[in-house]
């Protein structure tokens, strides 16, 4: 049976987690029975993933510096005088937003920019083993060199090979105007990602945590934020993170 527009609506709402329980159960049953519906679901899912990826790239091209300059050229209203107070207020505001839903490390402290780590967790949920390719990217060396320049961090295949894992795919993303590099590994068949945000994060010791079925290790040094994440045992993840921290620090 071919699928219809109405099916597309249902499958889309299903993918978006917007069906109620009864509708979802009914669709689950159809998905079990009907390979055509399953195939359609996968096609629609892939279209959504590509869209997210494309929009992420678009963000990279935003003329942030121009916009900031224009904004600063607008009538000031005593902005400079209160600059320090404003900075403090903003940190408090950001912490208020993040409180209760995100903390890293043992202190329960909410860092100003930790939202990028949450974004990575959400993004990781979309990955399958295929996401990181059958074979390592043939242009891995060049891609790493380019990423290295963007992030201002020394990255190459040797530095990024830890234990029996070697990098397979490199991606340049972006979070709130700062370049976010992602290096993809496969541990067996499980995607593992090493992410680096070029940003003014204060140094932070290596700490492990878990969320939504993912183990992740995070730290910050030299003005950059780091994160290793995957659905693998936390001990293994920490061991890999320690090696990466040592080799890329």
């Amino acid at each position: 049976m071919a699928t219809s527009e109405d099916d597309d609506r249902k499958l889309t709402a299903y993918l978006d987690g917007e069906l109620d329980e009864a509708e979802r159960a009914a669709l689950d049953a159809r998905l079990m029975d009907d390979p055509t519906v399953r195939a359609r679901l996968e096609a629609l899912r892939a279209a959504g993933d590509r869209t997210r990826m494309a929009f992420a790239t678009l963000l990279e091209t935003a003329p942030v510096a121009d916009m900031r300059t224009r904004l600063n050229a607008a009538p000031p209203r005593r902005q400079r005088v209160a600059a320090i107070a404003v900075a403090v207020a903003f940190v408090a505001f950001a912490a208020g937003l993040g409180a209760g839903r995100w903390s890293v490390g043992t202190g329960g402290e909410v860092a100003e920019r930790d939202d990028w780590r949450q974004a990575v967790v959400e993004y990781m949920a979309l990955y399958t083993p295929e996401s990181f390719g059958e074979a390592p990217s043939p242009r891995l060396g060049e891609e790493l060199a380019s990423l290295s320049r963007r992030l201002g961090a020394p990255l190459d295949v040797d530095r990024l090979a830890v234990d029996d894992l070697s990098p397979r795919r490199v991606e340049l993303l972006q979070y709130d105007g700062a370049p976010l590099g992602q290096i993809g590994y496969l541990d067996g068949a499980t995607p593992v990602a090493f992410c680096i945000l070029r940003d003014g994060e204060p140094d932070k010791a290596l700490a492990a945590s878990s969320r939504d079925g993912f183990a992740f290790a995070s730290w910050a040094q030299g003005g950059r934020g780091f994160m290793l994440i995957g659905k693998i045992p936390v001990e293994r993840l920490m061991a890999l993170a320690r090696s990466l921290k040592e080799k890329t620090g």
Partner: protein, 168 residues
């Protein structure tokens, strides 16, 4: 004292410039218009800072302001995107391969997104990129939830076909 909200908004909005611009580009389909739209949004937000409720999301408030400015502007200028006045497909595509160091097909996907009806493009951005729930998107768009769902499904379906024809 009365400047406090203004300063909070003024300093807070800098973190959202890139995302505001992307939303503006999705609406207008033109880079220069997008920049103007962001500037107008920032100025209005600072002007009306006392209407912002601390503890709520500043980015969502800014998005709503941007949208309302765009609607008023486009009504005034009768250049509603999606009526073929602006070539969104062209403008949305990223200039030059150098910008994309990661994924060659991204430019193709962006072109396909640019060719979507603007109402679909906007809904896709809000829900899939900015994380609005159907209900939140419906509220901002002033449309029923069913309409949000239909737009998203139609957009996904179109983008699926784009991919198939590219592979063929």
């Amino acid at each position: 004292m009365s400047d406090r909200p203004r300063e909070d908004v003024r300093s807070g909005l800098e973190a959202h410039l890139a995302r505001l611009w992307r939303y503006a580009l999705s609406l207008s389909g033109a880079r220069d218009v997008a920049e103007d739209l962001v500037q107008a949004t920032c100025l209005r937000a600072i002007e009306r800072a006392d209407q912002f409720q601390p503890g709520t999301r500043l980015d969502r408030w800014l998005f709503a302001i941007l949208r309302s400015i765009w609607l008023n502007e486009s009504r005034a200028r009768r250049v509603r995107a999606g009526q073929g006045v602006l070539d969104a497909g062209e403008a949305l595509s990223v200039d030059g391969a150098r910008e994309i160091e990661t994924n060659i097909s991204t430019a193709q996907v962006l072109r396909a997104i640019g060719a979507l009806p603007s109402s679909q493009r906007e809904t896709v951005l809000l829900v899939y990129v900015e994380g609005y729930s159907y209900r939140e998107a419906a509220e901002l768009l002033g449309a029923p939830i069913g309409t949000v769902m239909s737009r998203l499904a139609a957009a996904r379906a179109t983008l699926t076909r784009t991919h198939e024809s590219k592979d063929a």
